[in-house]
């Protein structure tokens, strides 16, 4: 490694300026505003931590946090299971077919979330939507439901769309990881007479530890970044059945002039997210260290 003095700094400065202007300074301001009762127009009044303490007993915020946990199941846990299964399957078919299937499975990840939301509304539409039309055509009319209008179905129905958007990404990550595992390890498992299940348990999953870590971090962050999906699919409804923190930040900050409270929610999400990500990284490092010394 060579230190070129100040020369490298010059190349970084323009990017740093944009980062500061668009992300870091506003983030600091959000932290400041979270300690005020500002309405976006009038004078700014300090209220200390009262915005934060109010969140704990705020029923909408509590609902939004609970929904965020459910969305994490659909955005993180389920995509990782499906992504792993499909990656294992894809690693066992011919290369040409694999590229084709991989391209198709990744397609949902490149479509704009707003288009995904509008498209899935057409799928879920109660009377003429694709899903209910299909169910009726199959003679399963009793299963045709008002998916997004039902208080207990709306959140899982929204979650399935999140799964749809996410699992292709997880799959390509795992597939790339499997292709990096040394073929000798798979051969050794075969010689030992391990079936697919044995190979997956003893070779594939241990070999994907790094990819699993990346997948968890990326999907964890995405679990909280679902504004375009929720806003265009349900607007948080029916009632507050699908409200999530980032939607509540928008409603309070932009629509209802409660900038202080909105900022407090935003800062809370960020702190929770950064702690979760650091926790995952710490856990992974500790496990590596344990196995290294074993």
């Amino acid at each position: 490694m060579r230190l070129s003095g100040l020369e490298g700094v010059v190349y970084v400065l323009p990017a740093l300026a944009f980062l500061a202007l668009v992300l870091l300074v506003p983030l600091g301001m959000t932290a400041g505003l979270s300690l005020t009762s500002w309405d976006g127009l009038g004078p700014i009044k300090w209220v200390g931590l009262s915005n934060y303490t109010a969140l704990i007993s705020d029923p909408i915020v509590v609902t939004a946090m609970g929904n965020a946990v459910v969305m994490t199941v659909f955005t993180l846990a389920i995509p990782i299971v499906i992504g792993l299964a499909t990656a294992i399957v894809l690693s066992r078919i011919t290369r040409r077919l694999r590229t084709l299937w991989r391209t198709l499975l990744f397609l949902p990840a490149v479509i704009a979330p707003v288009v995904v939301a509008v498209g899935w509304r057409l799928v879920y539409e109660p009377t003429t939507g694709l899903l209910n039309s299909l169910l009726r055509a199959l003679g399963l009319s009793s299963l045709a439901k008002p998916w997004l209008g039902d208080f207990s179905l709306a959140l899982p129905a929204t979650g399935i769309v999140a799964t749809w958007m996410e699992y292709g990404l997880v799959m390509v990550l795992f597939l790339a990881g499997i292709q990096r595992i040394s073929p000798e390890l798979f051969d050794a498992a075969k010689v030992d007479g391990a079936g697919i299940a044995g190979e997956v348990r003893h070779v594939t999953i241990p070999g994907l530890r790094y990819e699993l870590l990346v997948a968890i971090v990326v999907t964890l962050i995405d679990s909280f970044r679902n504004f375009a999906l929720i806003f265009n699919l349900t607007r948080g409804g029916p009632g507050n059945a699908t409200v999530v923190p980032v939607l509540e930040v928008y409603r309070r900050g932009i629509l209802h002039g409660r900038v202080g409270s909105a900022s407090a929610i935003g800062i809370t999400i960020s702190v929770v997210l950064v702690l979760l990500v650091l926790g995952v990284l710490w856990f992974a490092r500790r496990r590596d260290a344990d196995e290294g010394s074993a």
Partner: protein
Amino acid sequence: MNRGERLLIYAVLAIAVAFAVAPVVGIILVALQAHASVGGSITSVTDLTLDNLGRAWTVGAFGSSLGSSAIVALLAVPATTALSVLAGYGIGGLRFRYSGAVLALFVFALMIPIEDGLLPLYYIWRAFGLTDSYAAIVVTEIGYQLPFGVFWMAAAFRTLPRELVDAARVDGATSWRTLVSVGAPVVLPAIVTLAALNFMWIWNDFLMPLIMISSEALRTAPLSISFFQGQYLTDITLMAAACVIVAFPVVTAYAFLQRRFIAGATLGAVKE
């Protein structure tokens, strides 16, 4: 592999692909229905027409919003890619004291939800009278894309063989000359990947333009389909056609550059 295992593999694959593709195919078929009733389920898979696309294009004024999106992309994608290359070269190629700390700052920004600073940012732009302008969207998009871009390019320049850079420097080349004639050409695939990803993320962005833009003339394509949905939700064929129109540019780019897109998504892990 025995027969049972093979069967299991193809069953899993069939379900996964059907889940990914069926909604897309369904929406495209609805968009192409010839006899469009307002209800608009799929009545035929052979009698197809482009009429709904034309109708949606006119009714939803997608010419204007796709134009806005194109202007934003044409300004923001080259700018953010260029700034990422410069910063990535400084951090990963030249390196300097604290370059690790600077990189950590960009990675930190990658972790936090960008929406967090959006409210104050809106008020900053408003103080300058610049909300509802291309300038606000373009500058904000550049800043939003930089954390990944700098992280990505720093990693790319770090893989640059040191001998290449040193040889150029011994020949008396400046750091700029070295970047242009040695560094950038070697990491060109990473630059193309980054540009493709930046295009996708900027084109697809929704919340930031939603907050910054109020006039109809400046609406980007994702904004216009959202407003369009509010007005024409019951007209399913029209909505499906609008989906096809807005998704088309990025999906087309994906069709040609799918390896680059996937390499970026897997942080360069794809070698195939």
